[in-house]
Symmetry: none
Subunit: 199 residues, 2 copies
């Protein structure tokens, strides 16, 4: 038997990551045995349980299968605060697509992307040309950035509570606070933002 190497699991984890990149799922216990060379499924099961306590995988909500956590995809996430030198060890890999999507979108069927027009939210770091991730169902609360419908126009503002009435506050001193007369119609809540530089 090989000596107990505490860093061996990270090598195993790499195998699982490679498999996930191809098949987009955590391998079965049987396939883990093939991938790593275990002779017994129990070893695979225990490995998964170790990876669970380490925070790389977790049970599905139905508790009938394993799923990766965000830490599972963590490889291309560089920690610039800690690292000194040795930048080459943090190369990204092919299979890590859809990390961003999963980071931003919780309920796909209720989520859409909305391009930002204008600079009324510039002081909140939301620029013209950015794309905001909008979740339609979410109940908007004071302090949320929302897409509201004012005079048949869509507008992105912060929802605030002013004397127990809702109002829309731009983040740009050049624009006034919007205090709607009747009902304030909220199209959706901004849950994320995406920006692309240079072309």
């Amino acid at each position: 038997m090989p000596p107990a190497d505490p860093s061996r699991d990270s090598e195993y984890l790499d195998r699982l990551r490679d498999y996930y990149a191809e098949a987009r799922r955590i391998p079965t216990q049987q396939r883990i045995c093939e991938l790593i060379g275990f002779a017994s499924k129990t070893a695979a099961k225990k490995l998964l349980e170790r990876l669970e306590t380490a925070g790389f995988v977790e049970r599905t909500p139905d508790d009938d299968a394993w799923m990766p956590t965000t830490r599972f995809f963590e490889r291309p996430l560089a920690d610039i605060a800690v690292r000194a030198g040795a930048p080459d060890m943090i190369e990204g890999t092919q299979g890590d697509m859809f990390l961003i999507d999963q980071y931003l979108v919780r309920q796909p069927s209720r989520t859409l992307m909305v391009p930002v027009k204008g600079d009324s939210m510039i002081d909140a770091g939301i620029h013209d040309g950015d794309l905001v991730v909008v979740e339609r169902t979410k109940a908007a609360k004071s302090g949320d950035f929302v897409i509201a419908i004012v005079d048949d126009e869509f507008t992105l503002k912060e929802l605030i509570l002013e004397k127990s009435k809702f109002a829309l506050k731009p983040h740009n001193p050049a624009y006034p606070i919007i205090r709607p007369q009747g009902q304030l119609e909220i199209f959706g809540v901004v849950t994320g933002l995406v920006r692309r530089y240079q072309g």
Copy 2:
């Protein structure tokens, strides 16, 4: 029996997408029945086969399970500039579809995500806690936002040309321009930005 509705599958697809967002896998035939209301697993199987020909799912390399394709992760892109009233037209599939990852990442193997620390770029709309998309290969040019290595520390600044020498300019008046003595080492070029609101 309900009338054959050609757009019914897209509603089913939404259920699968929501399930995938939670459990990170295509549901089993049995669970598809629960999610949608099918009484027979065969209906679930045929649905998956339809979605395969439509290009939303495919078989794993081992041909023992279903996995999502890139089309599975497409999000609707709303054009609020056109709007005028009818926001619900965006519900349908007719609008443009859009892949966040593809939008931000051109070369996955050369791309990584870097969390932003500090507020030295706040005036450029880059906040503490944002994630920037960094491409390692790209040749940096004046005007680019770059991750540079200064004194063994990673720092995010704008690369500028000052008297035919490169320097690093923060976008926050509280910080000074960095004029490196010797070689200025560029780790990568910022090609995108991702921000998540509320939790």
